[in-house]
């Protein structure tokens, strides 16, 4: 199979922690512009897969190709520069800084030490920050310390911090966890809007939400792909039903 048709091609990926294989010979292909939702029971290795792709965890063997660049040998920031953005499960933002500064820090300019030292907050930066803040519903809160935002707003801020990096591949770990119904609706809207022209990998527990946004679904179980395809197909796969409802 030629790998360059895919944005992301994971092949034979394995990672073991003291002999325990959290991810075991896993292969996964994500198309250009596709929204892929990864589901699976607790401990299936979902977050570990994202960790491996974005370089947070080093794989034991296997390859991860992003647009033909091998990610397994790259460090986190290089992977980000290559165009992969990652949102964490618990909102990971800079509580001590304002919303504006949070977004500004994520703006892809002045990323080296001296670049940062001589970074100027010019009009382009300000405009871009404002535009992103608008889209994540935080335009009125730019000067507020991020620590004072609500849980849902923090999730949006982190999504905004990803957006301003303009990644080609977005990876979101449970983006609606802990959100109110109203916030969830807005988030679904936001995700649909921002995923245009991007490839997205989402980990989600909420089946309804997954169904709403997914192009295709991958079910992980014990570090391996159990089933893959449309939501409907996956839901009717006897192996999946066995894992979720069996025992």
């Amino acid at each position: 199979m030629k790998t360059n048709d895919f944005v992301l091609a994971v092949e034979g990926l394995t990672v073991s922690f003291d002999g325990f294989k959290a991810v075991n010979d896993l292969s996964l292909y994500v198309d250009e512009g596709e929204i892929r939702v990864i589901i699976g029971p607790n401990g299936a290795g979902k977050t570990t897969v994202l960790d491996l792709i974005c370089g947070r965890t080093k794989s034991t063997s296997g390859s991860i190709k992003f647009r033909d660049k091998e990610l397994t040998k790259m460090s986190e920031h290089q992977i980000v520069h290559a165009g992969v953005g990652r949102k964490f499960q618990n909102p990971s933002i800079y509580e001590d800084l304002t919303v504006f500064e949070n977004l500004e820090l994520s703006y892809p300019k002045g990323r080296s030490v001296f670049g940062a030292l001589f970074f100027r907050r010019d009009q382009a930066v300000i405009n871009q920050v404002k535009a992103i803040a608008e889209s994540i519903f935080l335009a009125d809160l730019l000067d507020k310390p991020a620590g004072l935002l609500s849980h849902g707003q923090k999730q949006w801020l982190e999504i905004g911090m990803l957006l301003i990096q303009e990644p080609d591949l977005l990876m979101l770990d449970e983006p609606v966890a802990g959100m109110s119904v109203a916030e969830r609706k807005k988030t679904a809207e936001l995700l649909k809007r921002i995923t245009k022209g991007r490839s997205v990998v989402v980990i989600e527990h909420d089946m309804q939400f997954a169904e709403e946004i997914a192009d295709r679904v991958t079910v992980l179980h014990q570090g391996q792909v159990l089933s893959e395809g449309s939501m409907e197909r996956v839901q009717n796969d006897p192996k999946v039903i066995e894992v979720y409802l069996g025992h």
Binding site: D18, F20, A22, T47, T48, R56, T57
Partner: protein
């Protein structure tokens, strides 16, 4: 550099330096065991660890004086009484320090480091005020003096053998306590998952306090043993603290076996080099070697790979 010695002389040199290394190893192990428990299990840096050790040494010194003065007939066995006292006092002081200081700082390891440094300064000055600035030594009972001749040229001092046996007993005791006893299971449970341990009914605060006290108590015993082979001054503890931390970090903080292995390699390297180089260069080279290795392998010699 070996040319001027004959083969049998060389063997003897290595054997005796090796034995000197074994004594250093014993002291390092005793000091490091307490630290490994406190740092490895609790993640707390106790910069006053050396002062706890010295407290044990001073208690031994006091006990030996009391026995010499009032119970000369029992002087042969004073050391065992001293050791128990040393453990008891440092254990209680350790618990008090945990209660009054450490427990407020669990989430701020760097601040703990500074606070315990402050504690070490206070203890040092306290020792100086009470015992004077001069080093004090204990008089050994007769049976611990002299040496045992292995061959005609290799002799080993008896107090050294005693310290080594003591170390072995305590190391085995700590191993049993941490890995075989119910209490050790509680400690490890708290280390791995504090909220969960608390949820299943473990009194985590008490476990912390006793763990810290135990680490300090072992330092007290180390101090007791220390009097067998050297004299004690108010700042003697500080001399060892860096070495001891390196031992623990080098071994991989959570592994008791690692602590012992690293104490062994550090002490052997140093005492063997000491014969050929000046003492200070031997120490510099040993420490450089350890720091160098730590830069290559920061997790230490024996470390687990952990999933995020």
């Amino acid at each position: 550099m070996f040319a001027e010695y004959s083969a049998s002389e060389l063997t003897a040199i290595f054997a005796m330096q090796g034995f000197a290394g074994l004594i250093l190893f014993s002291v390092l192990v005793l000091m490091a065991l307490g630290l490994a428990i406190i740092f490895g299990q609790m993640g707390v840096i106790n910069m006053a660890h050396g002062e706890f050790m010295i407290l044990g040494a001073y208690i031994t010194y006091l006990t030996s004086n009391v026995f010499a003065e009032y119970l000369p007939s029992l002087f042969v066995g004073y050391f065992f009484v001293a050791m128990i006292l040393a453990f008891g006092v440092t254990f209680l002081l350790g618990m008090a320090v945990e209660w009054g200081l450490i427990r407020f700082l669990y989430k701020r390891p760097l601040d703990t480091l500074l606070a315990t440094w402050g504690l070490s300064l206070i203890l040092q000055q306290l020792y100086r005020t009470i015992f004077g600035a001069r080093e004090v030594g204990v008089s050994l009972p007769d049976w611990m003096m002299g040496s045992y001749a292995l061959t005609d040229i290799i002799e080993v001092p008896i107090n050294g053998i005693f310290v080594m046996i003591l170390t072995l007993v305590i190391a085995l005791g700590v191993y049993w306590l941490m890995y075989k006893s119910g209490w050790g299971r509680q400690v490890r449970a708290v280390v791995q998952n504090r909220p969960m341990a608390s949820a299943v009914g473990i009194n985590t605060e008490k476990v912390d306090r006793v763990t810290f006290g135990l680490g300090c108590g072992i330092a007290g015993i180390a101090g007791s043993a220390f009097t067998m082979i050297g004299s004690t001054g108010p700042t003697s503890g500080q001399l060892y603290i860096v070495d001891t931390f390196l031992v623990v970090v080098f071994g991989g903080a959570q592994s008791l076996l690692g602590t012992i292995a690293s104490a062994f390699s550090i002490s052997q390297a140093q005492s063997t080099m000491e014969f050929f180089l000046s003492g200070s260069m031997a120490k510099v080279l040993t420490l450089l070697f350890v720091v160098g290795i730590l830069m290559l392998r920061p997790q230490g010699l024996f470390a687990m790979k952990i999933r995020h």
